[in-house]
């Protein structure tokens, strides 16, 4: 005679073991289906938008998120289609990606590498994101790019300008549409020579982190190549808010030009302080003193107010461009949100479309297939003229804008004017250029 005893504890144990046993294959299949991480199942595909939602770059992050939401709308066939109408590739049909409706999750990078990695990891592991994109800092981009490489996920970088993102820290699964420090230097130098001559003594103030170093190096080498002399290059702490102690010695050094290798709040404060000190009203050996901001952002320029007037810099894109792609994007974005998009919004929107298009052309979400589709891809109609996604380093090569703070703005958005559209040939460099030395793309990783 058999005796069966059901106890509460026994039931719980059995239930837990059975539950775990059933859940395990489901989890593994979510990660490993079709041989790559987070292969989409069902009728939807999830993208992960990792942008700064808190912290000092939160406004820029909000603009990136607006652009991604617009891109998702257009990919799913809603709205006016935006740049899908002007994009040279016609693979996108407005029916999602490979027929799957596009959904998205968001993460908050906080503009901190560890927080950005944690939010990207969570979107990959918990939400099943098949691609991660966004960000407003090179430190974040490099950190998240490395994580995506390990996880077998495609990373489409947002706003990141350091040479290292597609230089020594490049990865096979990572792609950058935004321009870089080298390109800024190469585009700016001839314009500066025209405007200010070839005999200038430059003083650099440089944010003490990776992006600052590569920008200083790029601007120094480009301007020195045309005859300028670098009097001093001083590192300033990233947390610095009052730059008076750094700006006061500039005139004593005999310099007649100040280069502010600063971004965000640093740029707003250092430029404001420099103008307060009256540097722009000074003359050094008969030359008017000049200030240069290598990387301009309209959102950040707004914080510096009238201080940006007449100051040269470079930018990846500007809403006043008159090509069909830019006009279409500005109309879509402006109609939806009531103001023109920033360069951060533009690069993020374009990256989302480029990823979707690559998947369509590859016929697969598998990262290695997407990498193949993007490498060497030439396209147009996205706002920067004919563009190449170079296979050697996954950097986009396109025209670069040299801009100047506008003297008489007509609105709060009308802060910069385009001085020159520098042709792509002038900002192109060899993959083994010393400023990009070290590191290797490695092989693409499908994960799973």
């Amino acid at each position: 005679m058999s005796k069966t005893t059901f106890t509460r504890r026994g039931m719980l144990k059995t239930g837990a073991v059975t539950g775990a046993g059933l859940a395990l294959p489901t989890y593994l299949s979510a990660a490993g289906h079709e041989g790559f991480t987070n292969a989409p199942t069902g009728g939807t595909v999830t993208l992960g938008f990792n942008v700064p939602q808190t912290g000092p770059y939160a406004d820029e992050g909000a603009d990136e998120l607006r652009a991604y939401e617009l891109a998702v709308e257009h990919l799913n066939g809603e709205g006016d289609g935006g740049m899908m109408n002007t994009f040279s590739s016609k693979a996108l049909q407005g029916n999602g990606i490979l027929g799957k409706k596009v959904e998205y999750v968001t993460g908050d990078t906080q503009t901190k590498s560890d927080a950005a990695r944690a939010s990207a990891k969570s979107m990959i592991e918990k939400d099943g994101a098949v691609m991660i994109t966004g960000g407003s800092s090179s430190g974040v981009a490099v950190a998240v790019q490395a994580l995506c490489q390990e996880a077998g996920i495609i990373f489409m970088a947002g706003l990141t300008h350091s040479n290292d993102t597609t230089g020594k820290d490049k990865r096979a699964n990572g792609f950058r549409h935004f321009f870089n420090s080298y390109m800024s230097g190469a585009a700016l130098a001839p314009v500066l020579a025209n405007a200010y001559g070839t005999e200038r003594r430059a003083y650099h103030l440089t944010a003490d982190y990776n992006w600052g170093y590569t920008t200083e190096e790029a601007v120094k080498s480009s301007t020195e190549a045309m005859g300028w002399e670098t009097v001093a290059a001083v590192k300033t702490p990233l947390t610095q808010t009052d730059f008076s102690s750094y700006i006061a010695p500039v005139l004593q050094s005999g310099a007649d030009t100040l280069v502010l290798n600063h971004y965000g709040g640093n740029m707003v404060n250092s430029l404001t302080n420099a103008v307060q000190f009256g540097l722009r009203d000074k003359q050094v050996e008969g030359k008017d003193f000049q200030i240069i901001v290598p990387l301009y952002s309209r959102l950040m320029a707004k914080g510096a107010g009238a201080n940006v007037k007449g100051i040269f810099g470079s930018t990846n894109w500007h809403w006043s461009l008159q090509d069909e792609g830019s006009k279409t994007f500005v109309k879509s974005f402006g109609t939806k949100y009531g103001f023109p998009p920033s360069q951060a919004a533009h690069t993020c929107y374009v990256q989302a479309l480029l990823y979707a298009d690559a998947v369509e052309r590859a016929g697969s979400f598998a990262p290695c297939a997407v990498v193949d589709a993007l490498e060497g891809f030439e396209f147009d109609g996205m706002g920067n003229g004919p563009t190449l996604y170079r296979a050697d380093d996954h950097q986009c090569f396109k025209d670069v804008l040299v801009v100047k703070g506008k003297e008489n703005p007509t609105s709060e958005f009308d802060l910069l004017e385009i001085v020159e559209v520098t042709p792509v040939d002038q900002v192109t460099y060899q993959p083994d250029h010393p400023q990009f030395a070290g590191g290797a793309l490695g092989s693409c990783n499908n994960g799973a």
Partner: protein
Amino acid sequence: MDAIILQILNGLDKGSAYALIALGLTLIFGTLGVVNFAHGALFMIGAFCAVTLSRILTISHTIVDETQKDFLGNPLKVDVPYVYDWFGEATGNVIIDWAVPLSILFAIPVMILIGVIMERGLIKHFYKRPHADQILVTFGLAIVLQEVIKYFYGANPIPTPAPDAFRGSFDFGLMLGFDANQIIYPYWRLVYFAFAAVIIGAVFAFLQFTTFGMVVRAGMADRETVGLLGINIDKRFTIMFGLAAAVAGLAGVMYTPINSPNYHMGMDFLVLSFVVVVVGGMGSLPGAVLAGFLLGILESFASMGAVIDLLPGINQIIIYLVAIIILLTRPRGLMGRKGVMED
């Protein structure tokens, strides 16, 4: 020599901000015994009083300018401030241009009110709690205030310029016999230093020469005895909290043309101001002012190229280094009193 004079001048305005914030912190600590980590947030709110008044003065109605186009190609909508309609464009421009100095009048009642609400609504419940609890609750409050400001004003810095009359810089070098451009100093920073000196002088005079101030000083020395004499010292201390909030707020208002205000500017000053208070001596008002200027000037010197070349990174640690040295040699700080925070 010119470089040294220049860095002393630079240190004075930075020191002025430290001194004003530290003065308020010390007033609160000396009267109520509370370590107020929300004091940096009061500095930040003061700055945003200037931003708010600027926005109030530029409240506009819209007219459509058919001759110009907006970014979507529609006729441009131009904002015309109401002050133009009321006072004419020229006078209206002057009023808007002087928004920051005018904000002083706006900030004083607002900051006193915020200070009193903060003290009565939250901080009074923590008087008998340990200092650690006070620090936690005031730090939490600072974060809440910061996020509230970010919600309404965004994360980007907001330009709030000085009046046109104070833009540009003054060539001190020429006055002292140096070559041109060797020692230049912005007019507004001179104004800030003078303003800080007036506020500090006024606070000391108020405490020293008024009956109210005398009672407060007596209460700081022996709260119990003053209470036994039938004086409502709690009420006076609440007013002092409001006054300290106003001092921090005014420091913030006048700082806006130096650096465009943003929601986390208070935190940037808070930690340094606490170091200033500790170096000056907990509870010592003259100590807070002295240490504020001293550390401001030292910080400026440490940012000189020659000093950084000699000791890389010294600009980031100088204040803490000096604090360690002073606390090792004078544990109560420069002008600290016996018995304060020593029980």
